[in-house]
Symmetry: C2
Subunit: 260 residues, 2 copies
């Protein structure tokens, strides 16, 4: 019988508001058992780029991570956000350990190949990019890994990497050792049947229902890539994917995606 491991991913919104962040940290501290936190950036990094006079680099409407931008997002995600989260978690009794993908070589990425667009210092995560053994060692040492969205290529180059992708890739990699629950926290209570009605949360979705909901046009377009990834994670061995509000992780209201 494998232990359960709960992996939570948080992003903007909760990271951009001190009061919300404190509430999330308190709630996360109350989650029992093994756990991991993955965090994205939030608006602070964009503000800092602007304060430093670094204009957003856009190509064909897509954001590019040039060297100056990578420097700032590394400082912001791995320095400020990650260490603030770790210090707050420590104050709440969680023995948190902040990590970029370079630390302990836990996530080794590949710089995104240049096709139509050169995204710059952006990392993609191929199969086997996660060192599950090292994460397992840290977790078994009663530490709670807190992963930021910076990885490395193994040749000395740091890379900016999508935090949702980190969350699902780490969840899959640990599925051999744990019963993994992947929790995507955002600013809604779950997947909504009616995007304008916050009370229309769908409590549970299995793959066949999902296909039907997509066909019926019920799922908001912005949710589709997230849910496609979620169901792919389930197929790859993740036990359960939960979509929930970052401030309600210990409340029953949420959407649970499962294989059957």
């Amino acid at each position: 019988m494998k232990e359960t491991l709960k992996l939570f991913k948080i992003g903007g919104g909760v990271l951009d508001d001190d009061a919300q962040l404190h509430r999330f940290v308190q709630a996360f501290a109350q989650v029992p058992g093994r756990k991991i936190l993955v965090h994205g950036g939030g608006k602070g990094a964009s503000q800092m780029l602007s304060d430093l006079g670094i204009a957003p680099q856009m190509v064909q409407g897509r954001r590019i991570t040039d060297a100056a931008t990578l420097d700032v997002v590394t400082m912001f995600y791995a320095g400020k956000t990650n260490k603030q989260l770790v210090a707050l978690l420590q104050a709440s009794g969680v023995n948190a350990l902040g990590l970029s993908g370079a630390d302990g070589n836990v996530i080794r990425a590949v710089k995104r190949p240049v096709k139509d667009i050169d995204y710059g210092f952006v990392g993609d995560l191929p199969a086997n990019s996660v060192d599950a053994a090292t994460l397992h060692t840290l977790i078994q040492a009663e530490l709670t890994p807190v992963l930021c969205a910076i990885t490395h290529d193994g040749h000395g180059q740091l890379l900016n990497t999508n935090a949702d992708t980190i969350a699902s890739t780490v969840a899959r990699a640990l599925a051999g050792r744990y019963e993994v629950e992947l929790h995507y926290c955002f600013e809604k209570n779950g997947v909504l049947l009616d995007v304008n009605d916050d009370n229309s949360v769908i409590p549970q979705i299995v793959p066949a229902q999902y296909q039907q909901l997509k066909a019926d046009g019920v799922i908001a377009a912005g949710m589709i890539p997230k849910l496609d990834n979620a169901f792919a994670a389930l197929e790859a061995g993740v036990e359960k994917v939960v979509i929930e509000h970052a401030l309600n992780i210990n409340e029953p209201i949420k959407t649970v995606l499962c294989r059957s």
Copy 2:
């Protein structure tokens, strides 16, 4: 028989020059056995404070760490410098793991009490501030801790902390588990008999000689606090303190301080 653990501390100079930093990383990678790296800041953080329009806060000639300064040094030390070092070490085959004192609660500091001067968010390290057990677990997992000069107070507050102090405090804390060598790397080949002659390195100093050298006015004033701390570390159980050039750590030229 305890294992040997070599703890290296590097600071400005080598951190401020990419070519030197790469040379140091190569040399550090060649050091056999268990090791830890502690790094200070370098000039980059000051440059960034200036780029962000944050004026140095001085009181009675002493630098103060206000909230805005703490934010920037945390980003710089724990984000940029630490992650760059870790990525470079990984590329050289060292399984480095970057840490602030908050991570794994490895260094819990106390905000410096306000007497004549309020230093702001500066951490002092009392006895028992280092969690030697967690560092030991990481080291035994074949990881090489890379510690930056940011600690925490256990109540959610990050603190700016002197890197030399971190190095000697961690060295002492691990002396019960390892034969610890504490290596202070700087821009001279060791302790000089004649401050103007780089070839006048004193190869070895024991406490009685040190007292004599101090009495004779041979030791440069700036070295005295460092050496006082070094001999205190020896008395507290550290096996050996080495003063050497950051670019010559695998060369025989250096000053070794030992108990007898």
